[in-house]
């Protein structure tokens, strides 16, 4: 305890700086967390408001979690969610860093800026609107892709009826939409690198590739590690629109497009129940939390500096 007061005294200004943010977290994040109890209750409305509703509702233990595990779909959705996330996290990381470095190296800076702005555009379009365009490519009778295939003498493909293509389509679309956003962080980090490092390296006769390998990448490492650990926290969540809108909710494709979030959404469609949806969210959080704790402690062993806490 005395160490606490010592710190309070020594780092007065730092404590003062961390205070507004702390209050914000307490009010907007920690205070509402009491609502999580609903996951273990059969939530019924009481006329005296939310708290009365919560306290008067029956405890039901893990009843609300059951629907997540009741069928063999539990295996499919968990597998899909994890595999897609692994692909999106790893490819996303490689491509975001790759694009950031490439843009930074292009000789014509004005073109680099133009490319970068262009890559940001998909971020502004909602999945609903994007699905409109993927459909214009993949539609069986009017789709551009099938018209091309037929033109070259092939047989039209039923894109929304064939599971083989979807892992690639979904991963491509997921990366396509987010890459502009995620590469900005790395671009900024590269911009923040002290140019004298490169100057020194040049004098030593280092090639471009060596400069990237021995200067840029090591300096980006802390950021890559942080972002990856944070992404792992979301391993049980997915971008709902990507997996729901882009395959147009085609039932035939469920075995490769159904993820935990879409499963929850479909389960709730007629029996929508606040207890069950809270339970589902809690389940996703807990798994993500454990994953982050594990990853973080591994990172800590290798390099203490790069762990996030």
């Amino acid at each position: 305890m005395s160490a606490f007061f010592k710190s309070l005294n020594k780092d007065k200004v730092l404590w003062f700086m961390v205070l507004p943010g702390t209050l914000w977290f307490l009010i907007f994040c920690y205070l509402p967390m009491f609502g999580t109890i609903i996951a273990f209750k059969d939530f019924k409305i009481h006329r005296d408001g939310f708290f009365a509703s919560v306290f008067n509702s029956k405890w039901v233990g893990l009843e609300n979690f059951k629907f997540l595990f009741s069928t063999e779909d539990a295996y499919i959705i968990t597998r899909n969610t994890i595999l897609y996330n692994l692909a999106l996290i790893s490819l996303g990381l490689i491509l975001a860093v790759g694009i950031a470095i490439t843009l930074n190296e292009l000789v014509n800076k004005r073109m680099a800026k133009a490319y970068q702005t262009a890559m940001f555009m998909p971020y502004f379009l909602s999945w609903v609107i994007i699905s409109f365009f993927t459909f214009s490519f993949l539609s069986v009778d009017k789709g551009i892709l099938n018209q091309v295939i037929v033109y070259f003498g092939g047989d039209p493909v039923s894109w929304y009826g064939d599971t083989r293509f979807w892992p690639y389509i979904l991963i491509f679309m997921g990366i396509w939409k987010s890459i502009g956003y995620s590469s900005v962080v790395y671009l900024a980090a590269i911009a923040g690198i002290d140019k004298s490092y490169y100057e020194a390296a040049m004098i030593d006769g280092a090639s471009k590739w060596q400069q990237i390998k021995f200067i840029t990448l090591p300096l980006l490492k802390p950021l890559m590690v942080t972002l990856t650990i944070l992404a792992i926290g979301g391993i049980f969540r997915s971008d709902f629109g990507l997996f729901y809108q882009i395959p147009r909710d085609s039932g035939v494709l469920y075995s490769v497009t159904n993820v935990i979030d879409t499963y929850i959404y479909r389960s709730m469609s007629t029996t929508g129940n606040i207890g069950m949806s809270t339970a589902a969210g809690l389940y996703q959080s807990i798994v993500g939390f454990i994953m982050v704790l594990v990853t973080n402690s591994i990172v800590k062993k290798i390099s203490k500096e790069n762990a996030i806490f």
């Binding site: 780092d11 961390v18 800026k113 379009l125 365009f133 923040g192 802390p222 993500g288 982050v292 806490f309």
Partner: protein
């Protein structure tokens, strides 16, 4: 502010070879093209005649040019301009507030000498995974803080975000050497002055990034408006767009059960109107983008600092 200088323009003899320059330009260029392509279509559709669109589908050059969609949107009277104003205010004010909260919090986390930095990192991180859910958030915002139908309801609930903090912390950690802070301390600079005059300027690329993300976050947010705003004079642009979108989807999905659906269908805006809204809601922010961009494409030299 004299502590850093932009690198002067000179012949860059560290550039990649012309061959690689061309190859990389082609690869990145093609990808960038696929990214703008749908947007061009959105613009084209918004200028297409509704009937022609339904009959022939869409094409990059409108088969029959029409301004009807924009006329429809502007006919909502001052609502569009009002919403634009709300969005602008929320975005600017919100970004400033967010940057203040995020940089101060993140800076403390980046200070290795601060004893509780791990605790506060965890404290922030935990909120990324666990949240109370929509209803408790709503109760806190409306019943405790009374934010309903105020502009603050559009700002405060998304003012902070653990993700941005942890990214910002990493920026501080990598771009601000400990020695620099120690040196400033020895020179008699107070903690807060060091932060404002030394740390922030060096971290400009990082701040620009987080600033950009916050700006986008506020600009694109419609969910808080859905929850907390029903006063028409406080509805932001994206919420207007989202309403159109939600209505279209809802009516399509439920028309069977609703019965008298043709009554409602007639009042719904058309596909072209929806696209016109997308254009109007996206173009301004896309144009604001280069403002942030200059901070992370050009780069800074901090060499002079170490002298």
């Amino acid at each position: 502010m004299e502590v850093f200088k932009r690198k002067p323009k000179e012949v860059d003899n560290n550039a990649i070879t012309p061959f690689w320059n061309v190859v990389l330009n082609i690869i990145v260029g093609i990808f960038a093209f696929t990214c703008v392509f749908p947007f061009l279509f959105v613009i084209a559709i918004s200028f297409t005649d509704e009937k022609v669109l339904a009959l022939n589908g869409f094409s990059l050059i409108p088969e029959k040019f029409s301004l009807a969609a924009y006329q429809f949107v502007f006919n909502t009277g001052d609502q569009l301009f009002r919403s634009f104003g709300v969005t602008l205010l929320v975005t600017v004010l919100g970004t400033l507030i967010s940057l203040f909260l995020i940089t101060t919090y993140a800076y403390v986390l980046s200070r290795r000498s601060f004893r509780y930095r791990n605790f506060f990192s965890f404290f922030a991180f935990f909120t990324m995974l666990f949240s109370g859910g929509m209803v408790p958030n709503y109760i806190v915002a409306t019943q405790f803080l009374h934010l309903y139908n105020t502009i603050w309801a559009l700002i405060l609930p998304i003012a902070m975000n653990a993700f941005f903090i942890l990214v910002m912390r990493t920026f501080f950690q990598t771009s601000v050497p400990d020695a620099l802070i120690e040196a400033a301390k020895i020179d008699g600079s107070g903690e807060f002055r060091t932060f404002l005059q030394i740390v922030l300027p060096i971290s400009l690329p990082g701040i620009a990034t987080i600033g950009l993300f916050c700006t986008l976050g506020y600009w694109n947010d419609w969910f808080n408006a859905l929850l907390y705003i029903d006063d028409a004079s406080l509805v932001p642009l994206q919420a207007m767009l989202m309403r159109i979108q939600n209505n279209m989807e809802f009516v399509i999905q439920n028309s069977m059960q609703m019965g008298s659906s043709f009554e409602i269908a007639a009042t719904l805006p058309t596909e072209t109107v929806r696209m016109a809204m997308v254009v109007l809601a996206t173009l301004p922010i896309a144009l604001a983008y280069p403002f942030f961009q200059k901070y992370f494409v050009k780069g800074l030299t901090v060499g002079s600092l170490k002298e």
